[in-house]
Amino acid sequence: MKIESLLEAVGKTPLVPIRHIGQEIKALHSGQVKIYAKLEYFNPGGSVKDRPAARMVQEGIRSGQLTKDKTILDATSGNTGIAYAWIGAALGYKVELVMPENVSLQRKEMILACGAKITYSSPMEGSDGAIRLVKKIAENKKDYFFPDQYNNPMNPQAHYDSTGVEIWEETKGQITHFVAGIGTSGTIMGTGRRLKTFNKKIQIIAVEPNDPLHGLEGLKHMASAIVPGIYKEKELDDKFQMATEPAYEICQRLAREEGLVVGHSSGAAMLAALKIAETLKEGLIVALFPDHGSRYLGHS
């Protein structure tokens, strides 16, 4: 595959069936219900966040808000930061990110490798601390382009124009349920909105941590967090709350039984997909897996 820009490689990720986990559920065993995983780690930056980051940057350039003298600045819990970092490097823009000090070393190193600068916010305050700090930095400064991923309509729009269409086409219109975690909520909002234009009956189901204190990186416990401006809860058909430990355990099973080494938020989406499968006689569930598990191996 020859391309002119790495940005062309964003999207068109594989959709693969889950073949072994959940076989104790009758409808999955019989094949009446199927679960497919959308593997977003196939994006160049290794996560789903390449889609919105590329779109927000490209829109900034198109609108004239992002010019070569400006630095791309945003708050991130990691994956969006990696996306901005490589996209900035590829297009020739400086990048500065604000992230909680306790994000994983692998994430920090990937960002620094692309030449981006990191400002750390308090590890005690999670991603909300980064959001508060980036706003302070962005205030009154003209040499920054601040996409503001939590409030930028181009974030869900990226998924409306790509993820939603891909899933519809890849399932040949057979999808009945779409499951994804909520961080900025861009993925579930944009993909869900697009899928509903194809078939209103498709159920859009969000996954969030069950506790403000959780270990599901990238996900937000909405009731206790700064609610993103792009999040419209009324557009969801349902929302599942997931505990951290079971999500970690299903990640181990996904690796060992399916060959899918994925991050913890993928585990949470997988658990939700299994819960949905238990209630169905037939259907096709798509769970979005945001990133690869290598970023979570930590010092283990």
Partner: protein
């Protein structure tokens, strides 16, 4: 003797919005038990059903991760600081620890 315990934002509802608490004890376990006495309910957030510290939370005595010290029995003395920091990703992996 008093140990300063740093509390992350998601747990501050339990501590009356305080980010720093003075607690007593000579090991991490004891300090956390004293924390539970002061703020009932906090222990259930820090330990799992099997009674182990939740692996997605990191505990630091001063700046040392207790996983690399003596875990829950890590000694602690007056003037030390115990930080409870959500790991998010750091240190826990799909292979578990």
């Amino acid at each position: 003797m008093a140990i300063k315990v740093r509390i992350p934002t998601p747990l501050q509802k339990l501590t009356g919005n305080q980010g720093e608490i003075d607690a007593k004890g000579v090991t991490v376990n004891e300090v956390l038990a004293d924390l539970e006495k002061q703020f009932p309910g906090i222990k259930g957030r820090l330990y799992d059903e099997k009674g182990a510290l939740r692996r997605f939370i990191n505990f630091y005595v001063n700046n040392e991760d207790i996983r690399f010290l003596k875990g829950e029995t890590t000694p602690i003395k007056e003037g030390d600081e115990l930080s409870i920091v959500p790991a998010i990703a750091g240190g826990v992996g799909v292979t578990g620890r």
